[in-house]
């Protein structure tokens, strides 16, 4: 087969799709042949046509970021078909809330000291031990067995 026009190896996308990799292939810059799994994951979860449409909707200088984020989400979804990367978002959101509560409590202690009030005892603050209250994760994210998080406490759903 004459392939003298194309000196470059086909990109991972065209290799996976078993088609000729054209010079203007939209996938070629972002799915190098050295990373075949990246496109396989993205294609499995989102589909090549959807990815192509998404890439065409963003500016050229944003496409690499878009592809990287899609690859991240696809890999997360393959590892966790139920929650995908949304599970990680939930974990981080809870972490932010927990840290903010701890910060608020520490600032409250500082105010007490500044006002020359009696300080609380060391380690007696209840919210520092509050790791599982309001823990909405399902069992795979939480080692609690109270079942309050089973299937997610999506009360407004």
């Amino acid at each position: 087969m004459a392939s003298s026009s194309y000196s470059n190896a086909p990109c991972a996308a065209c290799k996976c799709l078993r088609r000729k990799c054209m010079p203007d292939c939209v996938f070629a810059p972002y799915f190098p042949p050295e990373e075949p799994q990246k496109f396989v994951n993205v294609h499995k979860i989102f589909g090549a046509s959807n990815v192509s449409k998404l890439l065409n909707e963003v500016l050229p200088h944003q496409r690499e970021d878009a592809v990287n984020s899609l690859a991240y989400e696809a890999e997360a979804r393959l590892k966790d078909p139920v929650y995908g990367c949304v599970g990680a978002i939930s974990v981080l959101q809870r972490q932010v809330m927990r840290l903010q509560r701890e910060l608020d409590a520490t600032n409250a202690d500082l105010i007490r000291y500044a006002c020359n009030e009696m300080p609380p005892q060391f380690g007696a603050r209840s919210d520092t031990n509050e790791q599982n209250s309001g823990f909405y994760f399902p069992s795979q994210w939480n080692n609690n067995n109270d079942g309050s998080h089973e299937g997610g406490e999506s009360s407004s759903m």
């Binding site: 499995k44 979860i45 989102f46 589909g47 959807n50 998404l54 909707e57 963003v58 944003q62 690499e64 878009a66 990287n68 984020s69 899609l70 991240y72 989400e73 890999e75 997360a76 590892k79 078909p81 139920v82 929650y83 995908g84 990367c85 949304v86 599970g87 990680a88 978002i89 974990v91 981080l92 959101q93 809870r94 972490q95 932010v96 809330m97 840290l99 903010q100 701890e102 910060l103 608020d104 520490t106 600032n107 500082l110 105010i111 000291y113 500044a114 006002c115 020359n116 300080p119 790791q131 994760f137 399902p138 795979q140 939480n142 299937g151 997610g152 406490e153 999506s154 407004s156 759903m157």
Partner: protein
């Protein structure tokens, strides 16, 4: 009942198919919320959605559909970065709050030491007022205002220092963080979060300006997914998240602290201590 049976779900409506009574997508895409399916279809496609949920049981299927809808909504809102942008922004927030917490705890430790020294000196000489009582308020004000100013400056610098080169490497780190999350979420998250903090601290984040702005309005996942109605109306599912309310709380605590300090400082008079 006849009306409800004849009404096609949003998925079948969008694709102009006949919506059967056992349509697998009907429970998750009500007819009055067409945008949900449009976003999900745009990102995943109907067949991919079905292949994701097919091997799952009914309960996990519902959860999977909620996360799919959530992910698609995020992608609709942030077409370039999607959920990865949200993850990065949350990591950055964690790093910020942890830095603030460390500073506050250091300040608190200092005051505790001063307090106990004061207790000891009170026991030794009961009627001698300590200078600690007099000077305690002042460093506190400076530390808080310093923290606030530093955080504001760091926030602007971190957001402004956006480079596409570091984003690619950040993707690799976020992937590792995701793996850390899944394995460490059942245990104390301290080690994984410390790992994330190190990642964020070592590599300045480059996130779209609109992601930085809009992430403040995001609901936590489990609140957002349930609030379909408000999403349909005006994307208000992302409004007034915990981050926004927490920010208000922090600011109010700082404000209260300064007022109380000024009042407290006025109560003390300078005396000599020997």
């Amino acid at each position: 009942m006849t009306l409800k049976a004849s009404q096609a779900c949003a998925a079948c409506k969008y694709q102009r198919r006949r919506c059967s009574s056992d349509c697998p997508l009907a429970p998750y895409f009500p007819a009055d919320q067409p945008r949900l399916f449009q976003n999900a279809h745009k990102l995943f496609g109907r067949s991919n959605i079905l292949s994701i949920i097919k091997p799952l049981d009914a309960e996990r299927r519902a959860e999977a559909m909620r996360s799919i809808i959530y992910e698609a909504n995020i992608r609709d809102r942030y077409p370039v970065h999607g959920c990865l942008g949200v993850v990065c922004q949350l990591q950055y927030q964690i790093w910020q709050v942890e830095a603030e917490l460390r500073a506050a705890q250091a300040q608190l430790d200092m005051y505790r030491q001063m307090y106990y020294q004061q207790q000891l000196s009170t026991v030794a000489a009961d009627d001698v007022p300590s200078q600690l009582e007099l000077g305690m308020a002042l460093p506190y004000i400076d530390a808080l205002s310093l923290l606030h100013n530093n955080n504001t400056n760091d926030d602007d610098d971190a957001v402004a220092s956006y480079s596409y080169n570091s984003y690619s490497s950040l993707y690799m780190d976020a992937r590792d963080v995701w793996v850390e999350d899944t394995h460490a979420a059942n245990n104390n998250n301290g080690s994984s979060m410390a790992f994330q903090s190190q990642l964020v601290a070592s590599q300045p984040l480059e996130i779209q300006q609109e992601v930085v702005r809009d992430c403040d309005e995001m609901h936590p996942f489990f609140d957002t997914v349930d609030d379909r109605q408000s999403y349909v109306d005006s994307k208000e599912a992302y409004e007034s998240s915990s981050e926004e309310s927490l920010k208000d709380t922090t600011q109010s605590i700082e404000h209260v602290g300064e007022n109380e300090l000024k009042t407290a400082a006025a109560c003390f008079t300078l005396t000599s201590v020997n």
